[in-house]
């Protein structure tokens, strides 16, 4: 996937398929990081850059670093989050596999800026190319790293990358979230304030440290600033990971992958914690994290999943709800029982076998469950379902009331 007419930043240089960039190649393209003094003064630069986190929540990176730095008198830890358990996303593993030194540079700048004394690189155990690439890059950088760096393989699972789950796994081998507060920025790995930062966010930091906040802000359309990695999936010719200027429209991204508007029913934006939008709403939408949030949508982790026009939004949503219920780590009642109930009711509706109250129930349960987990898993899942009710409301109603699926009817006509 290549979006039109701008210069990529993270993905500049050799193509992704060329594999891991070595330290000499990395240095010849980007030059060294600035002096330690400048690295320690990065927080205001990041605040001025407007860089938002790329793990899903889009929180301002500079502000997060400041909240850790304010607490790091007794030490602090930087946790590079490359768990990437989001099924629609592949951008972090692609980045870690091909540009490991950008990620490590960003982590080192973070350690110096927040007063960290260790870096833990937390990478999904299934992402073998990323793990091999990072291990080699860590060995290449070992002599220069300001603090010790270790790699921990994250166990499979949607929830493993949640920040308290990551801390819990690294400290105690248990990748289930813990109750918060305290949040990791207050008390994380080894009890120390811990900066949990997504791998892509840190790669942007590596470039901002060299070139400054104004350089970062020079890219982007409209009010959106900077570039971002996206993962496009669906039945298109050029699906995969690409880099876009933030503010690029969904329609432009889809066109770049070879999708045609008439063949797309809708898109899932952000990931499984994200939101559906029907194609007429989505096509001209700018992929701008702040603008999307204002519309009740999300840029999330840069996921753009295509729902083909021959597929059904209700069925696609039911599949996601089944997955999310299965990924509950079974700690909190509303998540365990609520998501299971929602998945079952969604499935009945999708199969045109709804019980009389199923649609009313899922509307009610969606509100009932929101905000009632130790982590965001149940809240993210019901947010996705609520967006499906908005985007495909007519289709849900058709399934419920008439036990019919318009996509299925069309498919039959075509056949």
């Amino acid at each position: 996937m290549t979006a039109a007419s701008f210069s990529p930043r993270l993905l500049a240089g050799p193509p992704l398929r060329a594999g891991a960039e070595s330290l000499p190649e990395h240095l010849s393209r980007h030059g060294p990081l600035p002096s330690a003094t400048l690295r320690r003064e990065m927080i205001p630069v990041l605040e001025a850059s407007g860089l938002l986190g790329r793990g899903g929540a889009g929180f301002p990176v500079g502000r997060k670093w400041r909240s850790v730095a304010e607490r790091s008198r007794g030490g602090a830890v930087v946790l590079v989050n490359g768990a990437e358990g989001e099924p629609g996303s592949a951008k972090d593993r692609a980045l870690m596999a091909s540009r490991p030194h950008l990620v490590l540079d960003g982590a080192e700048v973070a350690a110096e800026a927040v007063g960290g004394d260790e870096i833990v690189v937390y990478v999904g155990s299934a992402h073998r190319a990323a793990i091999a690439s990072l291990r080699r890059a860590m060995a290449e950088q070992a002599a220069f790293a300001p603090v010790p760096v270790r790699l921990v393989e994250a166990p499979p699972g949607y929830v493993s990358g949640e920040e308290t789950a990551a801390v819990h796994f690294i400290d105690a081998g248990d990748a289930r979230p813990t109750s918060s507060p305290p949040r990791p920025y207050e008390r994380g790995i080894r009890g120390l304030p811990t900066l949990v930062q997504n791998a892509e966010s840190l790669a942007h930091v590596a470039l901002i440290a060299r070139r400054g906040d104004e350089w970062y802000r020079a890219a982007g359309r409209g009010a959106a600033r900077g570039t971002a990695l996206v993962t496009v999936s669906g039945p298109v010719e050029r699906a995969g990971v690409g880099e876009i200027e933030l503010g690029t429209t969904v329609g432009e991204v889809l066109t770049a992958t070879g999708a045609r508007r008439g063949e797309v029913r809708g898109v899932l934006l952000g990931g499984f914690f994200g939101a559906w939008a029907d194609i007429d709403t989505a096509w001209d939408l700018a992929l701008d994290p702040l603008a999307l949030r204002e519309r009740g949508l999300t840029f999330g982790a840069g996921v753009v999943s295509i729902l083909d026009a021959t597929d059904c939004g209700v069925r696609a949503t039911a599949r996601i709800m089944a997955y999310m219920a299965g990924e509950s780590v079974a700690q909190c009642g509303p998540c365990v029982f609520g998501l299971r109930s929602l998945a079952d009711a969604s499935r009945r509706i999708a199969l045109c076998a709804a019980e009389r109250d199923d649609l009313a129930r899922i509307e009610r349960w969606t509100e009932m469950i929101r905000g009632r987990g130790a982590c965001a898993h149940p809240t993210g899942a019901v947010g996705l379902l609520a967006s499906a009710l908005r985007a495909f409301g007519d289709e849900f109603a058709l399934h419920q009331r008439e036990r019919r699926c318009s996509a299925r009817a069309r498919a039959v006509e075509v056949a």
Partner: protein, 77 residues
């Protein structure tokens, strides 16, 4: 001082005593887990709230000073 009732969702196993002792503030969802009304506990109910906290068999309930939400609403960095 304004006090808020908080549920430790991981500890809570849905015994439901809190909703019996403090129905003005706590109701139960369809699976028997507590839904706590948003905001601080009204002054006149604080003693009842303390009793509910003490009655919870798994110590999942706390009465805390009302605190603003965590400053960093992030999930995966």
């Amino acid at each position: 001082m304004a006090l808020e009732l908080r549920v430790d969702r991981i500890r809570c196993d849905g015994a439901g005593l809190c909703a019996e002792l403090l129905p003005e503030v706590v109701s139960l969802d369809d699976w028997g887990y507590p839904i706590v009304r948003a905001g601080s506990v009204p002054e006149r109910l604080v003693d009842h709230a303390r009793r509910a906290v003490e009655a919870c068999p798994v110590l999942a309930l706390r009465l805390d000073a009302a605190r603003t939400m965590a400053v960093v609403p992030n999930r995966r960095g």
